[in-house]
Symmetry: C2
Subunit: 249 residues, 2 copies
């Protein structure tokens, strides 16, 4: 048995999420079914992050152990030829037997995309959340800086395992691009790990700052409250994308 | 009757093209059906360009004349609320009775998107053409410059009306963006008008330059040949988008 690490991309639109569920289409379910078809054996995969229903990924990382007598490139080609259209393995490597994509990860980076113009862009509706009122990017940028560092993020989510709500946010950034005349806003956030729905709660709260309903400094107050009820409501899954998982070396 | 000009966007994936056809879903057909539902009258629309099946638009322009007693904003809201998910009116204006979106246009600008990496990006597959071999952008940029000016483009397309194949290309540009690490290439081309499938023939030929199968100067030779058989084959519709139509004033 050899252990493989794969960087995968998926369009989350038509999935109930990453994690296998007995009923319904999941990323894990599709990949495990593909591995069974290609290798004729029952294989369980481990993922770096359990993205929710509708959340996309361009840099999700999975690992699995399998007996394969052909080349690494052959395995990647065979899997990509068998996977459904909305999942692709963009990189495949051999790793040590003890590699675990979740426990070995140093950090994860998510990007949340907002389509910020009065009428939504038709070509962005699968991948962006439409906010018609103009957002103040400078205010959202300043507010996001309060999140950087090791804090108790109880105001922004619940742990998916264990009880600690302390996480380390390494960086946050709001960006735009020339291609959409600044109408698409991208929020990047990197942390050692995230609480359940933490990015979507943070973005929901930052949008309130961008709309002028909250002041920049209110983010600090909300963070210190350590109370989930203090943050704003969740933004939709379609705007969220897991873009990178970082490992040692 | 008042004449209206609308800038519309559509995701071309599920359309047989812009122009009405008795069978099958078209952009014109959907908009005319929407106008009928909203205004209770049979209205014909005129479009600036008849995009092919699968071609997208973020800046198509249409015009129509209708009796409407409420505000302009109300008309736009009513139409957008009734249009299918994959069409939106992003701008609506009142124009003079003689305005024609096709005949009055000074120029059209198209953008063709190429996903240039070994494995395709899952999130781009509806809107980009995947080319796995690395393209030489500098060579494609230089080659595209030969097209700028007033030339006989018979090597790149047939006229949709009349017999002249002379068109004026005002500018061409290849761009990338930071967001995809330069893996997405955008080709912009503006002309007074285009021949049938001209942009897709041009991009197909420029790709041959980018792959090193043609030299930069070969574009000049192909242009001078005035023979459709001299250019490379068509690239797929999914990468093409009508981004702008320019009018006087």
């Amino acid at each position: 048995m050899t252990r493989y690490c794969a960087t995968i991309q998926y369009d989350g639109t038509d999935f109930l999420g990453f994690q296998f569920q007995p009923k319904g289409r999941t990323v894990q379910g599709e990949i495990e079914a593909t591995l069974k078809r290609v290798t004729q054996s029952e294989i369980r995969i481990d993922g770096a992050g359990r993205t929710d229903a509708g959340v996309h990924a361009t840099g999700q990382v999975i690992a699995f152990s399998v007996e394969w007598r052909h080349s690494l490139a052959d395995l990647q080609r065979a899997l990509n030829a068998t996977l459904p259209q909305d999942i692709i393995i963009s990189c495949l490597k051999i790793v040590t037997d003890d590699f675990h994509p979740r426990f070995d990860a140093l950090s994860r980076c998510y990007c949340y995309t907002i389509d910020n113009q009065f009428w939504p862009s038709v070509l962005q509706q699968r991948y962006a959340y439409h906010v018609k009122d103009k957002l103040d990017m400078v205010a959202m940028q300043s507010a996001a800086r309060f999140l950087v560092g090791t804090h108790d993020f109880a105001s922004f989510g619940k742990p998916t395992q264990g009880t600690s709500t302390i996480r380390q946010v390494m960086e946050t950034d709001w960006k735009t691009d020339w291609k959409t005349d600044g109408n698409l806003l991208f929020f990047y956030i990197r942390a050692n790990a995230f609480l359940y729905r933490m990015v979507r709660k943070i973005v929901g709260t930052l949008i309130q700052v961008g709309l002028g309903h909250l002041k920049v400094q209110d983010i600090q107050t909300i963070l210190e409250a350590k109370d989930l009820k203090c943050s704003a409501s969740l933004v939709p899954a379609c705007g969220l994308c897991l873009v990178e998982v970082v490992y040692p070396e």
